[in-house]
Symmetry: D2
Subunit: 443 residues, 4 copies
Amino acid sequence: MLAKWTSELSGCWAALTAAALARPEEPLDQSCERLLAPVSVGEKSRTAAEIHARFSAADDDEKRDFLAMLSNRYDADPRRLRAAIDAFRLDPDPRSLAELHAASEPRRQQILRRLNEIPNGTAMLLAMRSTLLRLGRDEPSLAALDADFVHLFASWFNGGFLELHHLDWSSSGEILGRLIHYEAVHPIESWDALRARLAPADRRCYAFFHPAMRSDPLIFVEVALTTSIPVSIADILRPDRPVIDPATANTAVFYSISNCQDGLRGIPFGGPLIKQVMELLRSELPMLRNAVTLSPMPGFAKWLREEARAHSADASLVERLGAPGWHAHAAAQTEIRPLLMRAAARYLTMVQGRAADPVARFHLGNGARIEQLDWLGDTSPKGLRQSFGMMVNYLYDPAHVEANCRAFAEDNRIAASSRLRRLARSDAASRSARRLLALMEKK
Amino acid sequence: MLAKWTSELSGCWAALTAAALARPEEPLDQSCERLLAPVSVGEKSRTAAEIHARFSAADDDEKRDFLAMLSNRYDADPRRLRAAIDAFRLDPDPRSLAELHAASEPRRQQILRRLNEIPNGTAMLLAMRSTLLRLGRDEPSLAALDADFVHLFASWFNGGFLELHHLDWSSSGEILGRLIHYEAVHPIESWDALRARLAPADRRCYAFFHPAMRSDPLIFVEVALTTSIPVSIADILRPDRPVIDPATANTAVFYSISNCQDGLRGIPFGGPLIKQVMELLRSELPMLRNAVTLSPMPGFAKWLREEARAHSADASLVERLGAPGWHAHAAAQTEIRPLLMRAAARYLTMVQGRAADPVARFHLGNGARIEQLDWLGDTSPKGLRQSFGMMVNYLYDPAHVEANCRAFAEDNRIAASSRLRRLARSDAASRSARRLLALMEKK
Amino acid sequence: MLAKWTSELSGCWAALTAAALARPEEPLDQSCERLLAPVSVGEKSRTAAEIHARFSAADDDEKRDFLAMLSNRYDADPRRLRAAIDAFRLDPDPRSLAELHAASEPRRQQILRRLNEIPNGTAMLLAMRSTLLRLGRDEPSLAALDADFVHLFASWFNGGFLELHHLDWSSSGEILGRLIHYEAVHPIESWDALRARLAPADRRCYAFFHPAMRSDPLIFVEVALTTSIPVSIADILRPDRPVIDPATANTAVFYSISNCQDGLRGIPFGGPLIKQVMELLRSELPMLRNAVTLSPMPGFAKWLREEARAHSADASLVERLGAPGWHAHAAAQTEIRPLLMRAAARYLTMVQGRAADPVARFHLGNGARIEQLDWLGDTSPKGLRQSFGMMVNYLYDPAHVEANCRAFAEDNRIAASSRLRRLARSDAASRSARRLLALMEKK
Amino acid sequence: MLAKWTSELSGCWAALTAAALARPEEPLDQSCERLLAPVSVGEKSRTAAEIHARFSAADDDEKRDFLAMLSNRYDADPRRLRAAIDAFRLDPDPRSLAELHAASEPRRQQILRRLNEIPNGTAMLLAMRSTLLRLGRDEPSLAALDADFVHLFASWFNGGFLELHHLDWSSSGEILGRLIHYEAVHPIESWDALRARLAPADRRCYAFFHPAMRSDPLIFVEVALTTSIPVSIADILRPDRPVIDPATANTAVFYSISNCQDGLRGIPFGGPLIKQVMELLRSELPMLRNAVTLSPMPGFAKWLREEARAHSADASLVERLGAPGWHAHAAAQTEIRPLLMRAAARYLTMVQGRAADPVARFHLGNGARIEQLDWLGDTSPKGLRQSFGMMVNYLYDPAHVEANCRAFAEDNRIAASSRLRRLARSDAASRSARRLLALMEKK
């Protein structure tokens, strides 16, 4: 039924587009006015379709003009706003407050709502904001419009409206192809590689979808079911690994999580996704004991280089550390490993009293604790470049998630295993950081 | 996949409810505070579930207290608001305006968004507002909260998120049972009667659904495909009527349209529904020429009685007009019919320069025109009581919808067929109104 | 996708029907010949549709003629058959045997296969056989055709092709309405009564469907989840009973099982259905300990009357036993109950060394054992009429199903609980049968 | 509902497999006996699962033994058969005939039916026959078993049970991957190449599925919607071609059709697929005027070589014709083209009074006519090797399909366009064949 309707709608949509193209072009601000005028439902749809079609077809200059026009011309009505302020100051009751709130709402919010009211409207608004972000870096005039996008998207992409789907090899080609495209942590090289992440019984992939964008995920997480906490991404992705019976797994490993929609930047989906997937896996697989991540430390190498610079160490030495094949030498294991481990522990926990790493902040904010460091957990070029191959497991322990979350939010307190804590103990760690720097200088 | 998830979610939901019941009860305002605090995603869900569970179980006094507490305690933060006003007055730029808008947003909007973030949250918020409407008629303190409900619902139930579904005999028992319950115009007496409206090839039913409430429609319309404009609802609903091949139909008759969700009162769905159904039917059945309604005139009898009173006619006479069986007398046809027809024409078009009837205002606002009056179109007790059995066809002519809509919105101009216009011509009509009154007096 | 195709097919089917009607009518045997001739795929479809359309529209005489024609004219080709017999007798090798088997296949089997090859063909063949059964009771000429129907249906409705569906209140109106229609054990009085059997959490309904008949079940079973073995159908069906959490149930009660398709008479679906439903429930609800039935004894009253007659007891006395309200008297409890219980035990187990009751034979054949008798388990008029209100629980114990099944199949040995066995012990039981007869005579 | 059940079934299936492995291995003929014995439904399922599991795990020798055992030991029961023959010869009435047919049915058919009665049984039987075909080429002892497979599959894969699905980019990864695997005419190089055949608006792919094998197609056809009859496969597959609006297409081109299931060899699906797809496209796109194929001539080169040999021409010359790049020379166009065209016309129509080409026989048998030859229509290595690059369009003209089909079936008469007919005219064509041979000799 739905499918039928969708195809009919898309016919409809084609008709609208045709209509839009047929209309002699009017200035876009006039079209926007029509969206706010008392015209028929059909006329509103045609106008919204027209605006979207013309925006899509426009070049960057025209797009910037359109966005700036929205931003400048469709602020709150100044006269109404002033009256509302006066009324509220005179008599600050719920009614005058309500009017003040209403009067201060930029009129372009209503335009955006109307632009959403046609088939595919939501996706097109996301594309519009994505354009704004691209163009807007050095266009402060667009900030107000961006705030409206964020306000509406946060409300529309409310957790109550998201749908969690299990993606596997029976998912549609459309969605599967998008997973390849969107994967942001460990690139998926081919459809076969994708299949190896989705089809085996001990692999799972879950995504949030918004009902208005049924074949385009918002965020997805890849999960491996294992019998121990993994210490290397290669073990997870190896094509020839043995597949285990999920009923025997005791550990769920969240080894990759990717946001998909640039247009939704700033709207958080990761925390709810992890929570729902954990609940779902626990109810399905009662043998599961641990939920951990296998995570990159994307800022580690950069931070260490900056540290080196800051302590007047020769930064080029850190570069040498990253020379091809360095990690395969025996020295890496005996000399560098303990030093890098301590530096990493410090990086994760003690930089200016807070977590320096964005991934760490994300998981700590969700109530996880830092469980262990994985030496050479990711020896791909990207892994070596970002973090000298180091990875980290965050552990989600239901019994402590709540307390961890609060302690982090309120006191910036970081939950970590005692092992990690020992590693990071201030003097040992800073001594090792110093020794590392010295070592690098010697090289 | 979806079905699976839904059932898993409902398990999840049961767990949340259990959790809620297990927690020693804390004051509800404290729970609300927790919704705004930096707690974990899981804690937020548990809290939201707890509030919903306790609200559902509460008695009316407790419910009123909760709603009033939301309304009173969670207004905008006064200090922040005052600062924002001052900043804006000092320097009214986009940034200070944005802050003013943000600062004037009642904090309870965020609470409502959080209450929506659990499975079934949307339906429970609708129930909450439905309770507010029931309790709130004489509780002005709840008005501010109601405005927040309307603001959020209008955004969440945006046309871009609604799904149009064709309902027929393959629809679920859940949905079908709700159609019987929600039908507001011509009651559906039994499942067999429902089947007669959905299953035959020349009958259609379309509904809007919101994705967060998949088996509970927001609004639905019943359509008959016919070969002429019908003049009586009995002809449409007669169980023994011949079923025609839809491909031979030239007329789509919208004979019943019902809003379903009391909690969404004030959010309009009717116009978009009619528009989309018309487009869909036209693309499916290219032989269709007319789209008309067969509509009640719910306020006609009341208006005529008031007119009688206003013109000092003896109102009891109008009552007599409504005596059992009056319409079956020959006199009804010869004497009363022309008079009532003119009165009805006048009622629909010329009362104080605007349409007095709510159904008329709805269709005129959508761009329809008044096409013809149907004498004794509905001789059910309700039909005779509301409108002395009169019905009316509104015609949606795509070529004029836009102009009609604007003329009505901007100049209050009413579109009507020339026949109707003649009938309603001021002097004839008022003469007949006078004659009708006289006649009633004679009786 | 499927839905789309189905609707397209039905359009297609309409076209075929139209084509069929357009063709000047030819004798039906000529149409049958064309089904066997080397015509195009399209021509075959048109011809099959034509035959079905003409058969549906025919009166009973014409239908009988058509069926008899199939039966008589489309036997095996006698010349080919004779040659095959000769060849096989001369040289009985696999090849000559294969040819013999092929040559002995009646040509009408191929006609039936071709009649199945159009949309809805399967359902129409079922209707054709249903007609045959109705007409054929005293038409031995149709027996050969019926054997072909049975042969093909048994192959086509092979367990590997059936789909088990959980039916609940989200099932389609089409299917739900059919459940009301097909229920053969405890009639479903209304849609509300149906809802009470499907919607509560502690009620289940499962059905087999064939993929070619997606909205028409083959057989369905209704299950109650309870915390003890029920002794009365009224307890199961009472609308005001408390609903229990399925997770707390220890007993699955199969309280009604109905075959739906008259045209499939003789093809057994009950055993596989019970087996699959038990497996499914056990995997879903690990707390389940017992799987029992609550079954009627449809032949008990009849058998007892015949016994009475056979032992020269006055059969009218048994009739008196069935007088309105007899079971509500105290005497029923004290005097009649022990006697009827023993008679029932005997009826179920020891009549001429085998189970006399068809329902008993069904469950015993599936490996169940007779667990207990339920005095006044069904005091509906039908229950009192069939079995003086007696019901019986059969127990499916996975540990013994296999042995019970074999013992019953090979040695006609009946599995029963020790209590039942004691009740039925020959002398006590026959004494009570005699006392019952005496009592009846006294009355 | 279905999805749920499928996953439950697969759990069930896992359990069965486990059961199978747990049972101490018994000889396979004993397992087969148990399938025919009066055991419980559950025992039958377990046994069937066990046989399948052991067959899958067996090596080729064991597989051959199992198949031969089925073939030899489970023929018809000789005593019953002899009695049936005698009875029939004595009194050949419908009853004795029915018994003869039943008695001559090999008992292994019942075994095969039982092996089908578990989840995935059908797919496993297909795999079993596929193995038989692979092993059986020189094992005449397996022929009888193969005949049983064909008999049962022909009945089970009856057109009435097949489902036509439109496959596109929203189809599952499972199915899409199989299309790449199964494509037999123009190999699909990558997922991107697959997307280019499925996703554009002017491309379609339709497949037949059997309901017991929902994600494994039986046969599929790829269709291009165009505005003229295409003369080259490269034009169809070019990634940079312009996509046209399907509503403007007047020609549907069936450019690739592939059978998928080796285990169903000999069961024809192509004719019904083409017919249904044509009907579907015509009803969806009323502008369509032509339905043509763009087909290979797989046997042409081989035939021409044999002709050369037969006419004592030096076959190596034909080989030279196939030298790399020969077709790019000017001579190819001027000299060779007319000769090869005539030879091809002759090959398609006049070899010993019948079509020599298997693809030609297929389409002619479905009622198509040979419309035109496409010189260098396929210059891929395979195309040049098979047919010197020649392709051919067959045209399906609804007005003539029926007559063409009959004429071909009954009189071996080949439908061809007048142009093709002229090309193939005996003397011209044989002259050109001779000249071609001469030319080849000169080279």
